[in-house]
């Protein structure tokens, strides 16, 4: 049994040691906003926040986050970044987008006015095969409207 705090709510779930946080969120809690692109730490699609820190949920064992605060895209649905991504057309297929927004939310939390260079540095772990990057940069640079 693991006890998880996700987007402010507590959940108790059955899970063998070795089960990833991503799998648990998606299959156990139905929070399918968190995507799996590679399942081995190489793409960033599965990014969630653990105690506010961007974390790859595909290579995080669910038992290691017991009692810590997990925030997924479902917990960030009203974040201004959602609107700025849509406004800037910072998504194409959208499969990487939840991960991008989760990463970006931590970036702007730490630094509300990041420079272009800081955005490129802070977002380098979120691959986008559609190549929405220029507009992702734009969306983050203009997230405050």
């Amino acid at each position: 049994m693991v006890e998880l705090v996700v987007n402010g709510g507590s959940h108790t779930l059955e899970a063998p040691v070795g089960r990833s946080l991503a799998e648990t969120l998606r299959d156990g809690l139905g929070l399918t906003g968190t995507k799996i692109g590679c399942n081995e730490g190489h793409c960033g699609a599965c990014t969630v926040l653990v105690d506010g820190v961007p974390t790859l949920s595909c290579i995080t064992l669910v038992h290691t986050v017991e009692g810590r605060n997990v925030t997924t895209i479902e917990g960030l649905r009203d974040h201004p970044l959602v609107d700025s991504f849509v406004r800037a057309d910072a998504l194409q297929c959208g499969f990487c987008t939840p991960g991008q927004i989760v990463s970006a939310s931590a970036l702007v939390e730490a630094n509300p006015e990041p420079t272009r260079e800081q955005i490129r540095h802070g977002m380098a772990g979120n691959l986008c095969r559609c190549g929405a990057y220029p507009k992702i940069e734009e969306a983050i640079a203009t997230w405050q409207g």
Partner: protein, 752 residues
Amino acid sequence: MARLIRTEKEVEGRYEEVWLVVEEDALDQWPSGPGDIVGRAAPRITGRQRARGEARYTADVQLPGMLHTAVLRSPHAYARVKSIDLTRALEAPGVRAAIGPDALHVLVDEAGYPGVAVAAVAADTFDEARDAVALIEVDWELLDPVLDPEDAVSRGQLLIDPRRYERGDTERGFAEADIVVEAEYRTQTVLHNSMETHQTICEWQGDRLDVYISTQFIWGVRDEVAEELGMPPDKVRVVCEFMGGGFGSKNGAGDHTFIAAELAKRAGRPVRCALTRREENQASGNRNATIQRLKAGARSDGTLVALSGEFVNAVGWSGWTATTEGPMQMLYACDNVQTVTYGAKINTPPMRAFRAPGFVEGTFGLECLLDELAAKLDLDPLEVRRLNHAHAGDDRPYSSKNLMECYKRAEPHWERRHDARARSEGPWKRGVGLASQIWYGGGGPPSYAWVRLGSDGRATVITAMQDIGTGTATAMTQIAAEELGLPLDRIDFVLGDSARGPYASISAGSSTIPSMGPAVRAAAADAGRQIIEIAAQRYDKEQRILSLKNGHVTSSDGGSWPLAEVVGLLEDAQILGKGARGPNPAGMQVLTFGVQVVEVSVDTETGEVQVDRVAAIHDVGRVINPLGASSQVEGGIIQGIGHTLSEERLLDPQTGTILTQSLDHYKLPTIADTPPEIVTELLDIPDEHLTNLGSKGLGEPPIIPTAAAIANAIRDATGADVRSLPISREEMLRALREARERAGEKVAAPAS
């Protein structure tokens, strides 16, 4: 009226003659330039759903009782299954069904490439399925793989007869040339790597089959599955509402779909078959490598007098031989052209279409060769391109071509090269290069759409197409909104389900907008005509003075009534509009054109190449959504940069094992690799011959010239000729060394 015609159909550069039933396209095109909605920036209609993680992709579909599949794939490049035993797998915990080569034709007992599917297991969880696959016992007979495409060609191991083309007399052309340049170019194998891997869920409902699939072609999947399973096509329902990228790799149903269907049948449960990232990078297709031996002859003023090319496509164990030779045949006016193309059959995974297959590779070779020629003649590369501009196609006229205008618009970007070079500093050399683009993108019939309008004055557009991330659903909504004179937020767009709408085109070959757009407009116009008929009777006006605008029916003699009022009296009655894509202009070539100008910096000591700026100027007819269009252009360029600089599938030369299965080894571009500036300029000149819209497709054109433009910019910056992709550090340093040696020879020559 429906009409039966015999016409040529083009998909990804391949033509076939077909009979088609088409409907007349009766509408006049809108005037050029932005309308109220079309031609103006619109954010994606499903953007919020996607951004908030609410959009349900195939990967997110969870059906009650659903099982998961693991596939046993050949670890060998070439081997025969002597025997296979599924007994232990079938007995493993959680397993509900297991199948091998005797159960399904996509499961093979002769493995022609590493990663081909041999057997599959469905179990309650993926982990159980994977553990069970490990228990399958296979006795392999190992065979000698052929991995080198040149080796395959010399052995005559080809997938098609060598494809030969000749116009004029190249031998004479070269004899008459003042200068002849010759070079060998190589392009590597690259992998699509859509973020959502290939996946399908199959669920049987009696004798009907529901297929949830990440696909670029709902109707193609329906037909393929129906044919394979011997079912009436409409017993197969195909669903794809949100799709996580395809780039050509998801045009067909794929082995995994047939595996899921068979396992679902046996287990009596819904079955998901999803590829892992590593399987994706073995078994879901690739842009094949090419070897291109090219030759160009020109007069001293730069006029091309002869072009010839020998192209080897490393196609793989199966697949088709893309037209790598296409750009050489089509891009320039040259009387004497000769090409031969070999499709090498080797023990590697089959190619699949990848964003302008053939033309990306062929443009790299041709456009680099042209710059090498210009350099030898000391001519301006842009001028050489203008000089050799093809004014008409070989025998058929272009429906529209504004490449000269693209060149004109390229001038200010091209002029920056003097400044750029001057900004070279120490080991960092800067330069500018350009390359032209030619490609298809006209789409074609059939495609259909319906429009439904209720008494609340809202319209729903229905068609069973897919939006693969290109923003076509948004563009369709804009087209319907423009035609109906309705604001965007009063239109709903329903797509993604073959049971909920009419036939729609494949989203490949830059064809969705040119194929679907005219059908959507026709359907909206059909509904609009009915609204006007009703309004004319209700307000006692002549139909011809009524029009639809801003959510109102407006009369040119002054009256204006909100649409909701006009149709309010419908109550439960509905206005139903229906539209079809008309034929392509007879006897004409419908093509897209463009040019890209790229600025690079090269660290001549470490071989590092940075792309600083790209200006992309394309002629794709009318632009529906400039915002979405610029995203397409940027995305194409960024994929092009990956192709040019960092991506390469690598094989173990002995066993053929794919070494770059994971994304740490297969290097996709990151946000940091994106040029700081990408300028998109679309001419936005409607093609007056093409449909009621005059729009062509834009998905593929932007990736075509990028590699050559980068290579040409590198030559401008450093004098080095890079002829092999990717331009890794190793290749860059090699080319620089070669250039230094050449320069050394030149300097040394007078002294000796």
